[in-house]
């Protein structure tokens, strides 16, 4: 029995040099056990658990994972190359597609980068609305993962509940942006257009619903003994490892660190409202999931604050016919739902960027996957994959 425990707890240190648990993988093998032959199992790219086309090649000893190798790039579309051939307005329509669950946040980063370079004065109202939308989008995203995580662990109901809420919120955002998934509502220097009549009231109502319903997820999963048994202590990611992999977002916060660029380096209006950053203690799957749930409520709080303080006025600035960022380089990071999304924009003063490097959260988070998987059980792999929340497009860009 204890052996089963160690299977799920001890961690190999394949990639991390000089970390705390170096060489654990070797120690697990106890002499007593029969000689076994590892089975090479290819999970994905079309596998229910790797929602998307992530592929993980694992070496199995029984059900214990000896080695795990994530293989990515199936959805690589060369965004950075495409961006170099397009002007900033067109990039807006491209950039929101890599992480298709947080389109608005994606656009926001680029918009802010260009605005800072051009030293544009973005209208107050636009900046508040950006915060509002960003938070709605965050909730959309988190709901998705709350559902899918349950689904992967075999609890099939939460995902349907999640989509119930998502539909409502999507309809709300669609009424403002016209899109259900790819909102493309940001523009350099503001927003596409102002909100439709009644949006703010609807938002206020919606936060109430979401809060009420997020309780259902808690009832379904939070206290559920089976769920706890499946996730507690599974895929625990120590902070130092997380840091050296550049892991961010709920995965980092679950490890106990309130690192969130909305707080540490507030952009737009986050500095003027109080942003609660929920954290966990163990950094295991359970904490990651709970942090995600808490973030939904936190976002609701933010939205309420925005609704109280949104001013009237224009949402656009008058721009030259062709937007051109001055020569130079800038790095802008925004707190996307899945973690920190960074945009390193190098401009040579033309209407399209000379280089636009996008640092996506999922890429770094999945890079830590071998560390998390080695020594886990096959079933744990599902719990880990599901709780290191990622979008394949966000990995591959």
């Amino acid at each position: 029995m204890t052996d089963l425990d160690t299977m799920t707890t001890e961690r190999g240190q394949g990639l991390l040099p000089g970390g705390p648990g170096e060489g654990m993988l070797v120690e697990i093998r106890d002499e007593g056990e029969l000689a076994t032959q590892d089975m090479n199992l290819n999970i994905g790219p079309q596998h229910p658990a790797t929602h998307g086309v992530l592929r993980v090649v694992i070496d199995l000893d029984g059900e214990k994972i000896r080695r795990a190798r994530p293989i990515i790039g199936y959805m690589h579309r060369g965004f950075e190359k495409l961006a170099e051939a397009r002007d900033y307005r067109q990039i807006m329509a491209l950039v929101n597609r890599h992480d298709w669950l947080s389109a608005f946040n994606n656009e926001l980063g680029v918009a802010i980068a260009v605005e800072r370079m051009m030293e544009l004065e973005v209208p107050e109202r636009a900046r508040w609305i950006r915060v509002l939308m960003a938070e709605w989008n965050r909730i959309l995203n988190h709901l998705m993962f709350v559902g899918s995580f349950g689904l992967e662990l075999g609890a099939i109901t939460p995902v349907f509940f999640a989509f119930r809420e998502r539909e409502d919120i999507q309809h709300l955002m669609e009424s403002a942006t016209g899109g259900r998934l790819h909102f493309s509502y940001n523009r350099v220097g503001g927003l596409k257009e102002d909100l439709p009549r009644g949006f703010l009231a609807a938002s206020a109502q919606m936060t109430k619903n979401v809060r009420a319903r997020s309780q259902e997820y808690r009832d379904l999963l939070e206290g559920n003994e089976i769920f706890i048994a499946r996730t507690r202590g599974v895929g625990a990611l120590p902070l130092d490892v997380a840091a050296s992999y550049g892991v961010t977002g709920p995965t980092l916060q679950a490890a106990g660190l309130p690192e969130d660029s909305r707080v540490t380096e507030p952009y737009e209006k986050y500095g003027e409202i109080d942003v609660r950053v929920p954290v966990g203690q163990n950094g295991d799957s359970y904490d990651r999931f709970m942090v995600l749930l808490d973030r939904i409520d936190a976002s609701c709080d933010i939205i309420d604050q925005v609704l109280d303080s949104i001013p009237s006025g224009p949402v656009k600035t008058n721009l030259p016919k062709v937007v051109k960022a001055p020569e130079g380089a800038i790095y802008v990071r925004t707190e996307n739902p899945l973690g920190q999304c960074g945009y390193y924009l190098v401009s040579d003063g033309k209407k399209n960027p000379w280089r636009l490097k996008m640092r996506t959260p999922s890429f770094n988070n999945i890079a830590a996957m071998p560390y998390l998987l080695e020594g886990a059980l096959l079933s744990d792999m599902i719990a880990i994959l599901g709780s290191v929340f990622f979008v394949v497009g966000d990995i591959d860009r």
Binding site: L82, R232, G233, A236, A367
Partner: protein
């Protein structure tokens, strides 16, 4: 499980304390701190938008990163990302972005990879940061920069294993833009200009076609000059007869825009391999030239506009039609500057093959750009100089802008070739039709 929970909690709790309660350093302070330790290895320190970019010698990168990670005052424990940047001729740069969870300050360590474009090399950081692994593999995928000491850059991370070339290098062609002609290229067809001409006008990217066009343009230029001389005389008399009073205005009204038209066309020609978009550019800028005097008696400017547009566009379609006898088009004798503008197309043409990177221009990106720049400056200088009167100035800007565009586009990968600077040329057709609409 219980054991696990304790283990995890311990690590979690311990780490959480260890990673909090630091004090951020100002970029300048950071720079100073590192400079004194790295000494002459630091090539350059820039602080833009409050962000520190420290350029160091390639071989000092690992040392710099180690310092950043280990010295407690800096404690850059968080590996954010690294980005390759194409520097043109100098080769490539790699910008490594580190962050400190404890102190919450950033640093970007920039390294210009030695080895130029052929064999760029940069030391790896995988021994310091586990996260560097994938990021360096990505940079290798995209730029072919070799990270010395990296556990394994192959198989390729993001592209397919047997992918040829390095996509993010500027000389790598963007296939999607190669595949089909740009739909935005077409201009409204002239009356009488027939289909296939328009067709090959759009699909003209082959360098061969470019040279032919250049030649055609040259010859056309010669004929045009002759014609120009004849016409000028003719026009002088004609003008004198026509409007005794408003000669002056008409004159400099004509001349100022003429200047732009030329330059802008030079620029347009600069940027395109074929003459076609030069034609387009000519059409619109010349039209622009005509704009400032809507109130010109008899709308001479208007006629001039349309004719120039026709000529230039026709020149785009094919040398002969363009250089064809002026008689077959009404009122060709009116404007003096259009043959000259054609001439400019001719002169503008020769630099084209070098200026705009055709397939053969790969890898000569830097050179191409510098030419482009100078050309654009020249072009820009012109209209700025003789942009006559407040009415003319916006168009002066415009043609200037377009010239700049032209140059920029010239420095683009081939996928951009053949795209006129986006919305601008479209304006004049608008104005055209708008006016037309009002009258009819």
């Amino acid at each position: 499980m219980s054991s696990t929970r304790e283990v995890a909690t311990r690590t979690g709790a311990r780490a959480a304390e260890a990673f909090q309660g630091g004090s951020p350093m100002e970029p300048e302070a950071l720079a100073a701190h590192l400079c004194e330790r790295l000494g002459r290895a630091v090539v350059d320190v820039t602080v833009t938008y409050g962000q520190l970019t420290l350029t160091v010698e390639a071989d000092a990168l690992a040392e710099a990163a180690r310092l950043c990670k280990e010295s407690p005052a800096l404690a850059f424990d968080f590996y954010d990302h690294n980005a390759g940047v194409d520097l043109g001729e100098e080769g490539f740069a790699v910008v490594t972005h580190l962050y400190s969870l404890r102190h919450r300050h950033h640093i970007m360590i920039r390294v210009v990879a030695p080895g130029g474009r052929q064999a760029p090399k940069v030391p790896t950081l995988t021994h310091l940061y586990a996260g560097a692994d994938w990021h360096e593999r990505e940079v290798y995928d995209m730029f072919g920069i070799d990270f010395e000491g990296h556990p394994g850059l192959l198989p390729r991370l993001l592209t397919v294993e047997n992918f040829e070339g390095f996509p993010l290098r500027k000389d790598f062609l963007l296939a999607t833009r190669e595949a089909k002609p740009w739909p935005g290229l077409k201009e409204p067809k002239e009356i009488g200009s027939d289909e296939e001409e328009a067709a090959d006008a759009t699909a003209a990217e082959a360098p061969v076609a470019a040279e032919e066009k250049a030649q055609a343009a040259k010859t056309r230029a010669e004929r045009a000059r002759a014609k120009a001389a004849a016409m000028r005389a003719e026009k002088q008399s004609e003008k004198a007869a026509a409007q005794a009073a408003s000669t002056e205005e008409a004159e400099d009204a004509g001349s100022a825009p003429a200047g732009e038209a030329e330059d802008a066309q030079a620029a347009a020609a600069e940027k395109t391999t074929g003459g076609e978009t030069a034609g387009a550019g000519a059409a619109q800028v010349a039209a622009a030239a005509g704009e400032p005097e809507p109130q010109t008696p008899g709308g001479a400017a208007d006629v001039a506009r349309t004719d120039i547009a026709k000529d230039a566009a026709a020149g785009a379609v094919g040398g002969d039609t363009a250089a064809g006898a002026p008689g077959d088009r009404p009122g060709t004798d009116q404007p003096v500057h259009d043959p000259e503008s054609e001439a400019k197309v001719g002169e503008g043409a020769p630099p084209v093959p070098s200026g705009a990177p055709g397939p053969e221009a790969e890898g000569r990106h830097g050179g191409a750009e510098r030419e482009g720049r100078s050309a654009s400056d020249a072009a820009a200088g012109g209209p700025k100089a003789d942009a006559g009167g407040p009415t003319a100035s916006p168009y002066a800007d415009r043609s200037h802008a377009s010239a700049g565009e032209g140059a920029s586009e010239a420095s683009e990968t081939l996928d951009e070739v053949g795209r006129p600077e986006d919305p601008r040329p479209a304006d004049t057709p608008d104005d055209d039709t708008r006016r037309g609409g009002d009258d009819s």
